[in-house]
Symmetry: C2
Subunit: 248 residues, 2 copies
DNA sequence: CGTGCGCTTGAGATACTTCAATGCTAGTGG
DNA sequence: CCACTAGCATTGAAGTATCTCAAGCGCACG
């Protein structure tokens, strides 16, 4: 499936990894990696722990999650990904997947051949630089998460997750004022914050009562961002820094 | 202070970041970055949150920790570093430090000028590749930590930290059989695992009683690695994989 | 010979979990 | 069009892992 000019345009515009490439080079990379556009429904596996790594995905629409699954069923979500995000152990030398990646909503994504993608990154310095930047950005995000899980209370963790997602949506222009689509179940929030779904529910109820945030029918509304920031122990400046963060 | 041939040799041999450079190129890089060798005592700050980034450190001897400090004093240790490790936001574009880095034991380290180090990484592809590899390795380690803090009990977290450090020491050849130098206080373990020092103490006492591990006079002894692995929910294969991990 | 830091232990508090039940909504098959 | 089911949110009640506060002890250091 040959990428059209429009599709190449969309990739350059919305995918940080490709943001600084000339359409020319990108088109060449897409050809080299046998890029194809596919669609998946909800709850589909994109990759599983232990599987061989054969390709790299770039999300165009919808949400996926990457998670770790322990023997007894405990689950830790490491990352939510949406349009513009890259999933897969791109850049590492790992030959097998370490984690599970699964769709949450229906997803439209590009699939690139992993091996030729690595080769392209080696040949194209700009792509290599972007890849490195992506790694450091992810590292910083994951370190924030370590502090959250290690040292912050349930309300703080949840408030911060909500704000991180809000910043992400703002950056992508996908939030209308103080509202954004929120396709996650309470169990997703639980597994991302290291809590139980029941406790997430109680905390969310308290957020609702204190007029900070409410979630109805898959839409999250920030009723009062000052209250939310207080719960998250963040200043407005911190929040603005969050928006600037992300894969630039 | 001009690096001697012996010093260059030591850097190539023990610092993953430089492991694949020719002595020639390394010497050139060290000159470009005004590399100097310094020594610090215990509990010295190497950098503080908010400070401007001016240099990059490479530890030759001793231990440092990098941590996040919340307004109310809660502390989360993100990483312990020792010989061969690089500390500092090398590779990112951040102009200011995000975390605190402090020595635990006396430390001998090289200091490289940050700006010219970045420049060197841009010019020397092999260095750039190593930097990227380092970032992905760190990312993977930090993701393990997220799962530990989010989903594992106190004994599991502590057992896994001990095993991760043991693997690190084995890799560096710094462990004698089942013993290694352990300069950390129980409060360090607490802040690395998201627990309190009191609870770490109780858990460590139980490890001692169950003949898994004991710590005496700054030396950690793995009495029975099978028991320890059980506590950590790890197999011997997992542990061996840990040893192979790390910045190759 | 005090003083401080780290380790140890006890007792009580609490944030979060577990188990269990109820209700709501959307989808499915008859 | 209704009965049935499944998934998710909500709430109550009881349990527990971990925390907090507090005290004592040993050792190193000045």
């Amino acid at each position: 499936m040959m990428p059209s000019a429009d599709e190449v345009q969309e990739l350059v515009a919305h995918v940080p990894l490709f943001g600084s490439l000339r359409s020319e080079s990108l088109k060449h990379i897409l050809e080299q990696t046998s890029a194809r556009l596919v669609e998946d429904g909800s709850r589909q596996f994109i990759s599983r722990h232990g599987q061989e790594v054969t390709d790299v995905s770039i999300i165009m629409d919808g949400w996926v999650m990457r998670y770790d699954l322990l023997a007894d069923g405990r689950r830790q979500i490491l990352e939510f990904g949406t349009s513009g995000d890259t999933v897969g152990p791109f850049g590492t030398t790992a030959t097998h997947h370490q984690y599970f990646v699964q769709t949450i909503t229906p997803v439209r994504r590009w699939i690139l051949d992993a091996e030729s993608f690595s080769a392209a990154a080696r040949k194209e310095p700009e792509l290599h630089r972007r890849l490195t930047l992506l790694a450091f950005t992810a590292l910083s995000e994951r370190e924030d998460m370590v502090t959250d899980l290690g040292r912050r209370s349930a309300p703080e963790r949840i408030a911060r997750l909500i704000l991180r997602l809000l910043a992400r949506m703002d950056r992508a222009g996908s939030s209308k004022g103080n509202q954004y689509d929120f396709p996650f179940k309470q169990s997703h929030i639980a597994d991302a914050t290291g809590l139980t779904a029941v406790h997430v529910n109680r905390t969310l109820m308290s957020f609702r009562k204190s007029n900070a945030v409410r979630i109805d029918n898959g839409v999250l509304t920030v009723v009062n961002i000052d209250v939310l920031l207080l719960l998250a122990e963040m200043t407005m400046a911190d929040f603005n820094a969050l928006k600037r963060k992300g894969p630039a």
